[in-house]
């Protein structure tokens, strides 16, 4: 757990209150599973957000983007830290996708010709790891996958959502 996440929990706890919505809406739908452990009597958006809260939310996201950026650009230390081997050829994701161009995360899910089936972005990430990069596939819901996905979406922000496009 990173510092920014701990800060987020503290801020959520500070701003929390018990309300009828907390009874009506399952907590799991309000926030990530980890936060629920610490905030099972709280609801999201209970009070107007403070600048610190918003910064903390953003810090959680940008930390994932940063890790994803490093993995995407072949940073060996980050890969080792996260226990992944994304490439055995010296190739990094960014070598075919500078600035994450030509990934088109906004076009998934779609029929992916190389895979020969309906595929998600995570399926395609693993295909790229295994085929061009000759690396080891990663779990679909692993930290590394989430970080890579965060970076790709962040870097493609403002793109037009266009699922299914060839």
């Amino acid at each position: 757990m990173g510092n920014s996440r701990r800060t987020l929990f503290a801020l959520l706890a500070t701003g929390a209150c018990v309300g009828v919505f907390a009874l009506a809406i399952p907590a799991a739908e309000q926030a990530g599973a980890e936060e629920i452990q610490a905030t099972d009597t709280q609801i999201a958006h209970a009070k107007p957000h403070t600048a610190e809260q918003l910064k903390a939310f953003n810090d959680v996201f940008m930390e994932e983007v940063r890790k994803g950026d490093l993995l995407f650009h072949g940073d060996g230390a980050t890969a080792k830290q996260m226990g992944v081997n994304l490439s055995a050829t010296g190739m990094a994701c960014a070598m075919c996708h500078p600035m994450s161009a030509d990934i088109h995360p906004h076009e998934f899910p779609k029929f992916q010709e190389q895979i020969g089936k309906f595929a998600t972005l995570r399926d395609m990430i693993n295909w790229c790891i295994e085929k061009p990069n000759q690396g080891e596939r990663i779990e679909s819901d692993s930290d590394a996958m989430k970080a890579l996905e965060a970076y790709m979406y962040w870097s493609n922000r403002g793109s037009v959502l266009d699922p299914g496009r060839h």
């Binding site: 050829t89 030509d102 190389q114 922000r157 266009d162 496009r165």
Partner: protein, 379 residues
């Protein structure tokens, strides 16, 4: 009109004498004619006034004194053999293919980025593979060759980074567009490896606008051309394109306007460049620019700035490491025409003829942004 297109258009208006084109003798072949019928938008507009997007082979009158051809290989990006054998295989294959040309190529131009990280082992490996070719060879450097030891090993193996020679009525010039990066390393006390790492990351934000020709080399080029008949053909080899295509990836030289000023009096100039790893064609003033293939991997087309005169390369299947890459030949025919061929392994039609196969088609819904992690300590 985007800012870039406006700048290009203004530069073209200033540089192109009335009624002049990079070449006045384009021949319509069946292949071009078929292509023309399905072209749309700006490219079709250009075609009607005599400028054609590049085809599988463009065919233009060139005024060479005798028929000849030369071959281009570049962007092999060799790692040591222990790291990556695919890049080695493809470099070996390109050399074999050039050796098999009949009639033989008069010379080979290696257009830079023989190595991936400027490692002497990588540079030696490239040199060894290219030794198999016994025809004349000339070399220009790429940024991947240079920034570990600031070009020392490269120059020892391959000589001066810029040069000129005349061949059968054509003046050839090799330019160094990579060695004049602004110093981003001293103040940050970077190791040679760190300096090289930033330079080797196309979408990095630390090395900045490193590609340039430089005042000293521009003066040299002007002097080199001063005794050359302005109507006779000039071919300029450079690693980076000599116009502004996409600066964030250094798909340009930062002093491209100055380059155009020097070349302005010359009516028949062709710039042949690497670095972009893709088929490209553009014209500004009286200069045409043609982008060559890499043997290593294809870059995607930039999210914006692809010249309207470019017919994009066909989409690549990254599952096949021989796809989307290869080498080039330029043949000067007895009839005075020149054909530029994209030799993509396994492809008979390297350029797209429909939007669904076009490597730029998805740019319409895509917005991309620079990375951040290389600007944060300790990166």
């Amino acid at each position: 009109m985007s800012d870039l297109n406006r700048i290009r258009s203004e530069m073209d208006a200033v540089l192109r004498p009335e009624g002049a084109h990079p070449d006045r003798n384009l021949k319509i072949t069946r292949r071009i004619f078929i292509q023309k019928s399905i072209m749309t938008g700006a490219a079709a507009g250009a075609a009607t006034c005599g400028l054609f997007p590049i085809m599988n082979g463009i065919e233009v009158a060139y005024g060479a004194e005798a028929p000849f051809s030369f071959a281009w290989i570049s962007d092999t990006h060799l790692y040591p053999k222990t790291v990556n054998t695919r890049f080695v295989e493809k470099t070996v294959q390109a050399v074999k293919d050039v050796k098999a040309m009949s009639p033989a190529a008069d010379f080979l131009i290696f257009g830079g980025d023989i190595a991936q990280l400027g490692d002497p082992v990588e540079l030696d490996l490239g040199n060894e593979i290219l030794k198999e070719l016994t025809i004349k060879k000339v070399y220009i450097p790429g940024e991947h060759d240079w920034y570990l030891d600031m070009g020392k090993k490269w120059e020892k193996l391959f000589g001066d980074p810029n040069w000129t020679f005349d061949h059968k009525g054509v003046r050839f010039i090799g330019l160094d567009t990579i060695s004049r990066a602004p110093d981003y390393w001293t103040a940050k006390k970077m190791s040679p490896e760190e300096r090289m790492g930033h330079m080797a990351t196309l979408d990095g934000t630390v090395a900045g606008a490193w590609a340039g020709v430089g005042k000293d080399q521009l003066d040299w080029m002007a002097k080199t051309l001063s005794d050359w008949d302005k109507a006779r053909p000039v071919i300029i080899f450079s690693h980076n394109p000599l116009y502004e295509y996409y600066p964030p990836w250094n798909f340009w030289v930062r002093d491209w306007r100055d380059v155009q000023e020097v070349l302005k009096p010359y009516a028949n100039v062709t710039n042949i460049h690497g670095h972009v790893h893709q088929a490209l064609y553009n014209e500004i003033g009286t200069m045409r620019s043609i982008g060559m293939l890499a043997t290593s991997w294809p870059w995607p087309y930039a999210p914006e700035g692809v010249p309207a005169l470019t017919t994009p390369q066909i989409r690549t299947d990254p599952g096949n490491h021989y796809d989307g890459v290869g080498w080039n030949t330029l043949t000067f025919g007895a009839d005075g025409r020149t054909e530029t061929k994209y030799n993509i392994w396994g492809r008979t039609e390297p350029l797209a003829t429909a939007e669904a196969d076009d490597g730029t088609a998805d740019n319409v819904n895509q917005r991309v942004h620079p990375r951040i992690a290389d600007n944060q300590w300790p990166y």
